[in-house]
Symmetry: C2
Subunit: 239 residues, 2 copies
DNA sequence: TCAAAAGTGTTCCTTATACACCCATGT
DNA sequence: ACATGGGTGTATAAGGAACACTTTTGA
């Protein structure tokens, strides 16, 4: 078989369908983590599932994710801002999807709860499934996600926990750039799902933050100072 | 557009070519990390590149990796043993490959140097490229790998370093199940590329190992005890 | 007996933890 | 004034780094 003709003609190779699936993770106030699910139409209609979509011609994976979120969940480009989904894993079991040979590239996208509530009310067929003991609690007593998507959620949560073990809100689950240490700690407790004393937390995070100079007001108790994430260069103790 | 027909007919969606690329990483004795490269034939003939291959019909990614290594590098199934490649990232830039729309799933496979030498001599067009200051030193003064594969190598090394920061030789780069602490430390120093005092290293690793009871003999100096990796259950200090 | 490598004791320092305490605001 | 949450001082403990030291072999 002449080499030149093989390399010139990629169409000789079989090509799988490629899909993206997204675990949109958020943290409602005072609640544990939650994942955005939508009610499917078409195949497996009525079942709750992660938003996903097939890849278009020469489309970037990140773009397919954004489009899927816009179409299936009303999460427009403006709401997503510049957030970029993170690749988790490619699921390649040929039996995974009974419609054919489908590779699915799983993604994680962290989104503040405030952004998600902007679409939750407007659309029916959208819900936030809470994560209880590392298992999703789906609406309608549904036990599990289709197409083995439970594994995507498990990986997403693991990944998120790893990233929140060190740095202050690295995925920006708090909606704003400025926050108090209490807000920050609340978010970390929700993500990590394990205790972390407030004074230890403070001393761990302080070197990674810079004061804005402002303080909160209005609530009970002493006003809290506002911080923002410091430039990574500030991270080592080289001041 | 009727939903049923859309979901029933996956062939309506455009499908990309999907390839796998593998960074086979090893650690020659007394040397830094090295990556297996081969001289391409066909497209970009003569250039050194990571082994890779297009996916076959309904093939698992791990299987495609194994086959690519067997075909391009002579690394047969027996040599690979039960080692399973790890997914690193999907590269999706549509301009990445000028032959067409190609997604590449990058993989990492760690292999003991003893296994790699079994094929290095037998085949021409195979080489080990050393990693010097996180850059590959390729044969023939070639500056970089094609198709943006340098990024694959960078990610592979990062991933490997992360896994070797804690556990004893988690990828089994040492060929054998039993080893001395010196061997183990040598491997970790090569992977991590940073100093680690031998006594600190010993105290860090000992709780993760179990003694075999045997000792080495023949070399200079005091005989060293042989260890094997302990069951993960032994890891926490719950003895 | 000496070089070389294995292995241990001990000190110093950094960092997490826990607890107690002081501070500043709204009611 | 006092309840409430923000913020700090300090003691304790665990773990890493460094250094000196002992142990056991081959030459």
């Amino acid at each position: 078989m002449p080499i030149a003709s093989v390399t010139a003609d990629l169409s000789a190779f079989p090509r799988p369908n490629v899909a993206v699936d997204v675990a949109v993770v958020t943290s409602p106030p005072f609640g544990p983590l939650a994942v955005l699910v939508h009610r499917r139409s078409g195949d497996r209609a009525g079942q709750w599932a992660l938003p996903g979509r097939f890849l278009r011609e020469r489309e970037l994976l990140a773009h397919a994710v954004a489009t899927a979120l816009a179409e299936k969940c009303g999460l427009s480009h403006e709401i997503l801002d510049d957030r970029v989904p993170r690749q988790l894993h490619v699921f390649d079991d040929p039996q995974r999807d009974d419609r054919g040979w489908v590779l699915s590239v799983a993604h994680l996208l962290a989104l503040p709860h405030t952004e998600i509530t902007r679409v939750l009310g407007g659309r029916s067929g959208l819900a936030l499934a809470r994560v209880v003991e590392d298992r999703l609690v789906l609406p309608n007593r549904q036990r599990r996600l289709p197409y083995g998507q439970d594994e995507i959620v498990a990986r997403a949560i693991l990944d998120l926990r790893r990233s929140y073990a060190e740095l202050p809100d690295p995925e920006g689950l708090i909606g704003s750039e400025e926050f108090t240490l209490s807000q920050l700690r609340g978010m970390h407790l929700a993500v990590l799902d394990r205790p972390w004393q407030s004074d230890t937390f403070r001393r761990h995070m302080l070197p990674l933050l810079e004061e804005t100079g402002d303080v909160t007001t209005g609530g009970p108790g002493r006003p809290a100072a506002l911080y923002r994430r410091a430039r990574p260069a500030t991270r080592p103790r080289s001041s």
